[in-house]
Subunit: 205 residues, 2 copies
DNA sequence: GGACTCTAATACACTTCTGTATCTGAATTC
DNA sequence: GAATTCAGATACAGAAGTGTATTAGAGTCC
């Protein structure tokens, strides 16, 4: 089969995507700071010339990378929300949400890098917080819907519990990745489900 | 007052500690990878010569840094355990534990760097996991004691819930640091207390 | 107080990265 | 199909870091 001859625009877009994908791999492997522009370009099968003609800087590419991934996560979440699941499924889905979003191992690392980067760079922090708050609000809506169905009442603002949910899932995922023997998937899931159930479901003590 | 004249040993130890302290500051500010040996030495008021005569490598110093900090955290935890507090205080103390441990702003960042480093370096990961498991077990004991006093039963292994506790606290602390307006201290504390209470206190649903 | 020893400074040789400036060949246009 | 335009390669000058080898100077010992 003859390889399709690409237009300039298509070719450029392909290069761009390859660079982004390569950056994700390289950054996950070596870290943002330790990954040189050269590494990224080489990993993608180009030279630095290609990089600089597609991105202003490494930082520029990194933000783009996060933006795209965040978009995917949001879309996945939206699908869950739209699916109009039963209560049990809803809970299940929330508990499994991260495992789904981060199905690509690189992604967890990328976001961990981003969190650190955000602590140091104020401009980056602003953008990053905006993304996080979007996610928080979506999960807050999730939680509200959940409580409403079960006819229970949260002891505080859903937004706060959404942050706690993200925090908990992120941290558990870390342990699950770093010491899978100590915290196998099943244990992690059981703990998450239990904490969610007891927090969002049980009446105020 | 005349400055005490140090023996060689004392002087060396002082240099070592200054380098460690300087490394904590520099690494928290710029990140592990972006911090050069020169940065650390300069921050401490020495040159690279002093560094290499005290540590084998940057990695070597970093592990030492974590080891020392972990030791402090463990000691603080032990004090809490030994204090024989009332149930209410026990819960309160657990919820505030991290804020106390990480009273120095740098420490959170240092450990975040360590978590990332652990994902990439197998040898480092082993050491790091050992430290984390020590902490987990201590918190598990904490939780068990708590449940025993309140005469409630955990729905699963305390060790798993200890990991969840660490995960939750770490993540909440992150949000608290990165977006203090969205998650002020009081909110974070309220959420943590609520989740703990409902998870460790309420009877099985 | 002179010889010895150890800490930390300095010098050095080497590697790696950055960003820009220039060039080349393929795509597009007429 | 020649002129042009643009993506990406290549060349270059400079900055910064690494680890080792050597040196200076202060601490220690007799």
């Amino acid at each position: 089969m003859p390889r399709k001859r690409l237009t300039r625009e298509e070719s450029r877009e392909q290069t761009r995507l390859r660079l982004l994908e390569a950056a994700a791999v390289a950054i996950a492997k070596k870290g943002l700071a330790a990954t040189s522009v050269e590494d990224i370009a080489a990993q993608a099968g180009y030279t630095r010339g290609a990089f600089y003609s597609n991105f202003k800087s490494k930082s520029d590419l990194f933000i783009e990378l996060l933006r795209l991934d965040h978009q995917n996560i949001q879309e996945d979440l939206q699908k869950l929300l739209d699916a109009d699941l039963s209560s049990e499924d809803l809970q299940q889905q929330l508990a499994l949400f991260y495992a789904q979003c981060y199905r690509d191992d690189n992604n967890y690392v990328i976001w961990a890098e981003a969190r650190l980067h955000a602590m140091r760079d104020a401009k980056f922090r602003q953008r990053m917080n905006a993304l996080c708050l979007e996610k928080r609000d979506m999960i807050a809506y999730f939680i509200e819907q959940f409580c409403q169905r079960l006819n229970t009442q949260l002891p505080g603002p859903a937004a706060d519990y959404a942050l706690a949910t993200i925090a908990l899932m992120d941290g558990m995922l870390y342990f699950n990745i770093i010491m899978p023997n100590e915290l196998p998937d099943a244990s992690a899931e059981a703990v998450l489900t239990n904490i969610f159930t007891r927090t969002f479901f049980s009446p105020s003590p």
